[in-house]
């Protein structure tokens, strides 16, 4: 892994990846990020590691990983960013929610290779200069969590929910926050937190 400050924006080619993963020797797995060394064998044997550069919280992170690694596992096991949580690995619970190019996605169902060149924002990238993001502060103020395991995903989802324009009413918030399960059931407090933070986030 290495950090570079430049943001390389290589577009990932889904078809090339599919072909590569299926074992075709003709198409390299990643167009620009992979080194020559990793590229050739990767196309022959999908179980060999590939190189990928992820742009996480404003920094480029270069990784050598199994091609099947999800964004979630790349963050947790390879980048030591363990704020994003694994609750189901099936896209059913939302604990792994991160922003990719400002859209909320379940990182357990997103391959790291597919996120190359895109901007990934995790819970660790939300606070600035030790000041909590308004949504984080609102979760504290409204006691919007208990065990805290779903909380990073809830907060990332909540930030996107507001930016999508889905925080206009309590009913809207409830509906558009329903992809994130909280087993402790802090739901009414989560709704209150989103309501509190929404105006400040929309202001900019």
């Amino acid at each position: 892994m290495s950090d570079t400050s430049s943001s390389k924006r290589s577009a990932f080619d889904r078809r090339a990846f599919m072909a590569g993963a299926a074992g075709s020797a003709l198409v390299p797995i990643t167009a620009r990020a992979a080194t020559e060394e990793a590229k050739a064998p990767a196309a022959q044997d999908p179980s060999l590691p590939v190189e990928v550069t992820l742009h996480v919280n404003g920094k480029d992170k270069r990784l050598r990983i199994d091609a099947r690694t999800t964004v979630l596992d790349a963050l947790r096991d390879h980048l030591k960013l363990t704020g994003s949580k694994k609750g189901c690995d099936h896209g059913q619970c939302g604990a792994c929610t991160v922003l990719i190019d400002d859209r909320r996605v379940v990182s357990c169902l997103t391959l790291a290779l597919a996120a190359e060149g895109q901007e990934i924002t995790t819970i660790e990238g939300l606070a600035t200069d030790d000041r909590l993001h308004p949504m984080q502060q609102a979760f504290v103020d409204n006691d919007a969590f208990q065990c805290g395991y779903c909380t990073p995903g809830q907060i990332m989802s909540a930030v996107a929910c507001v930016k999508e324009g889905h925080a206009g009413s309590e009913a809207d918030i409830r509906e558009y926050m329903s992809g994130n399960i909280c087993r402790c059931a802090a739901y009414p407090n989560i709704v209150a937190a989103v309501k509190q933070a929404a105006p400040e986030i929309m202001k900019g």
């Binding site: 179980s47 060999l48 199994d66 099947r68 690694t69 596992d73 947790r76 096991d77 030591k80 960013l81 363990t82 704020g83 994003s84 949580k85 694994k86 609750g87 189901c88 690995d89 099936h90 059913q92 995790t122 819970i123 660790e124 939300l126 606070a127 909590l132 984080q136 502060q137 979760f139 504290v140 103020d141 409204n142 006691d143 919007a144 969590f145 208990q146 065990c147 805290g148 395991y149 779903c150 909380t151 990073p152 907060i155 918030i173 409830r174 509906e175 926050m177 329903s178 994130n180 399960i181 909280c182 087993r183 402790c184 059931a185 802090a186 739901y187 009414p188 407090n189 709704v191 209150a192």
Partner: protein, 763 residues
């Protein structure tokens, strides 16, 4: 104040924000699988595809060819582990079914192999390539399956000591003017905490560190040591944060010692993150029950006879049961009571505690029956409870230490608008929606266990509290910090709390809603030891013990926190007099009536909870009343629950914010147990079918509309030094009955089988 932070009433602490709030909103809170490991190998479990039979052979060739595979562990080459006894028989385990010991299969989803590889992806692929040949026999899945055996719980479960009974039930029931007999079914349920059942094991020489979400680090430490055959002092369990427990992490599961053994053999840390579906079979669950209630009353509603019979499913290996009759036979005044709990053995994994284990299923039956009786009597169900309210439990005649049941009913009824209810079923509607109001009582035993704590105070007021308690989302860090700050009179922000580590002084299991009562009593006692030392130094001439007991505040506490007559002590002067920079005290606290071996058991990781109905001269319970509005669509039969109102009295409320949140979550759990949650079982294969978070229905945000929690002021000096009854398991009891009672009110249909889904409604 926001709704999240209700103003404290009498005998309530301040609603300060959570101690761990910043860590939890920034992603810095580290759960088991977040802990960094040095060059870990990754484990992936393979679980049985049959429920009964044996493994004939494994074909591992294909799996071993996967690049990065290190080892595949089956019963043929697994590390040898010692057997562990069930927690209720003096052991630590939640099941005595020990996987990887032989070729035998005791239940579907039993661990049959562990694949270890350089990456998670390789371990998973290899596990999928293992071929297993079985000889399967037809399993018994549940009630009504051929091949199950049924026997009374008494005599086979060490913790089920009696089938409570008093008077002459048969005669009284026979003679009663109004009678009711009804059967109730509750389903299998799985805890599904958000954190998966991850375990990481790392050895440093002979010392083992386990990172695993646990509700009982001392139990896990001692249990794993016993299985590995090593000294318990060589095992350390670390989990500063636990991603939900709900009972699933209270007792040891087989996975931990297995992973520890493999890590030892490989000489490398191993990280296991089981899948969500594996979590359904490698831990425990709430067993399905079948119950029957008989109530006999006179025309005025006075209960004369009550009989409660319950049957619960357990595994072939273990006689687990929850036996909720200990509570339901004591809730109301009734002179003639009978009960019987039996256990049905099937080819299943052993069930275990799940949030309010006895009360959720058993109060569903009782509180549904009480509502039905009220209808028979043409009486307001609240009034029926009032008529049968009691200060003494009927079985042994012991007095409740305090009991605010009817105060809870009255407060909640007022907030809910119960007076607006028209009593006739099907008499309220709003367009296409039939409206029903329902209510039920809740109660939960007050329990305490022996606990130790270490507290260190510096002359600048900085305080460090060490206790191997557990933060499972309850607010444990917060209330322990508040206790120390109040007792020592130091500002809250100067208190640091360390928990979730078995190297710290022992605390009881975070179960049975005992944590706050036990840990805060211990912390309070140790803080008092510090105060005594300081007072002895600062005021050598004064009478020490009494003075120290009466005096709160070491100089910096706000006046509001000091009790009447207290006076502050200059902390710096006291330190000067002592001639030290730090005062540190360790202490061990045990509740009144705790057995003689309490402290030894505490260090050995064995549970010695006392309280509830099992106290010598009294009985201690927390109480509450819950009111719900249900709407049933007359065409689609869709069921909605727009309002849940609960009023609760549980002794001292340490922090109204964390208390409200926990009770709110409990009410939603209660709603869920009525309308959503059930593990479906394929009866042919004794297999859980909906073993994922899309098919096992838990509430999402859109399922929850109005939830109101009312905290009643209650003082009870007879239970424990902090006066806390515990409320983590109070709110999700009775809600299921309240909802079915409301459905009856809306539709005229009495539903006695949970969960209620739209296909069960016949409008």
């Amino acid at each position: 104040m926001t709704a999240a932070a209700p103003s404290p009433k009498a005998n309530m602490g301040q609603p300060v924000p959570r101690y761990d709030a910043a860590a939890k909103v920034t992603g810095r809170a580290t759960y088991a699988s977040d802990m960094p490991l040095d060059n870990p190998a990754y484990a992936f479990l393979l679980t049985s595809a049959i429920a009964k039979g044996r493994i004939d052979r494994f074909d591992l060739d294909d799996a071993k060819r996967v690049r990065g595979v290190i080892e595949i562990v089956t019963h043929e080459n697994a590390p040898k582990l010692k057997e562990s006894k069930l927690f209720s028989n003096g052991g630590y385990a939640g099941t005595t079914i020990q996987p990887l010991k032989s070729a035998d299969i005791a239940h579907d989803g039993q661990i049959i192999a562990v694949v270890v590889a350089e990456s998670y992806e390789a371990a998973r692929e290899a596990a999928n390539r293992v071929k297993v040949s079985y000889t399967a026999t037809a399993p018994s899945a549940s009630f009504d399956s051929p091949g199950t055996t049924t026997a009374a719980a008494k005599g086979q479960n060490a913790q089920f000591k009696e089938d409570p009974a008093v008077g002459d039930f048969a005669k009284a029931f026979d003679a009663a003017e109004v009678k009711l007999t009804a059967a109730y079914d509750t389903p299998t349920q799985h805890h599904n905490p958000m954190e998966l059942f991850s375990t990481s094991c790392a050895w440093m020489g002979d010392n083992l560190v386990i990172y695993e979400g646990s509700q009982f680090v001392y139990g896990l430490k001692n249990g794993v040591a016993e299985q590995l055959g090593i000294d318990a002092d060589k095992v350390r369990v670390v989990n500063p944060y636990v991603g939900g427990g709900f009972g699933s992490r209270g007792s040891m599961t087989p996975r931990t010692a297995i992973i520890a053994g493999i890590a030892k053999r490989l000489g490398r840390p191993i990280k296991l993150v089981p899948t969500r579906d594996q979590g359904f079979t490698i831990t425990t669950h709430r067993a399905e029950t079948r119950q029957e209630i008989k109530l006999g009353a006179n025309r005025d509603g006075k209960l004369l006879a009550l009989r409660h019979e319950g049957a619960e499913v357990s595994s072939r290996a273990d006689a687990y049961c929850v036996g909720g009759t200990k509570t339901t036979t004591r809730l109301y005044a009734c002179p003639n009571v009978d009960s019987l709990v039996s256990i049905v053995r099937a080819d299943r994994n052993t069930p275990g505690f799940m949030r309010s284990p006895p009360e959720v299923p058993y109060l569903f039956a009782l509180e549904s029956a009480m509502d039905a009786l009220a209808v028979k009597l043409n009486m307001d169900p609240v009034e029926l409870r009032r008529i049968n309210d009691t200060t003494n439990e009927p079985i042994g005649g012991k007095p409740y230490t305090s009991r605010s049941l009817m105060a809870c009913f009255d407060e909640a009824a007022k907030a809910f608008g119960w007076a607006q209810r028209s009593p006739q079923p099907k008499s309220m509607s709003d367009g296409d929606w039939l409206i029903g109001y329902g209510c039920a009582a809740t109660c939960y035993p007050t329990q305490m266990g022996p606990s130790a704590a270490r507290v260190r105070l510096q002359r600048d007021g900085r305080t460090r509290v060490e206790i191997a308690g557990h933060e499972i989302g309850t607010g444990a860090y917060t209330v322990i910090a508040q206790t120390a700050a109040e007792r020592l009179g130091v500002p809250l922000e100067k208190v640091a709390v360390f928990m979730g580590d078995s190297d710290l002084p022992p605390a009881p299991v975070a179960g049975g809603s005992n944590s706050t009562a036990s840990t805060c009593s211990a912390v309070m006692m140790v803080c008092d030891q510090i105060r005594q030392r300081l007072f002895k130094a600062a005021m050598p001439a004064q009478s020490l013990t009494d003075r120290a007991k009466e005096t709160v505040g070491l100089g910096q506490t706000p006046a509001t926190q000091a009790a009447k007559g207290d006076r502050p002590l200059d902390i710096e002067k006291a330190f000067d007099a002592l001639g030290v920079g730090v005062v540190e005290e360790y202490g061990e606290w045990k509740p009144e009536g705790a057995p003689l071996d309490s402290f030894r058991a505490m260090h050995n990781g064995q549970v010695r909870l006392v309280g509830g109905h099992a106290m010598k001269d009294q009985i201690a319970y927390a109480f509450g009343a819950e009111f719900v509005e249900v709407r049933v669509n007359r065409f689609t039969h869709e069921i909605r629950c727009p309002r849940l109102v609960g009023a609760f009295a549980a002794g001292r409320i340490m922090n109204p914010r964390t208390a409200r949140s926990q009770l709110m979550g409990g009410l939603i759990w209660g709603m869920s147990s009525a309308l959503l949650e059930a593990t479906e079982i394929d009866e042919r294969n004794a297999r859980y079918v909906n073993d994922n978070l899309a098919d096992y229905l838990v509430p999402v945000n859109a399922d929850v509309a109005g939830v109101e929690v009312i905290l009643l002021s209650e003082q009870d000096d007879r239970i424990n030094p902090v006066g806390v009854k515990g409320l983590g398991e109070l709110a999700n009891v009775g809600t299921n009955a309240a909802i079915c009672n409301a459905i009856h009110h809306a539709t005229g249909q009495r539903i006695r089988k949970l969960p209620v889904r739209l296909e069960n409604i016949e409008v």
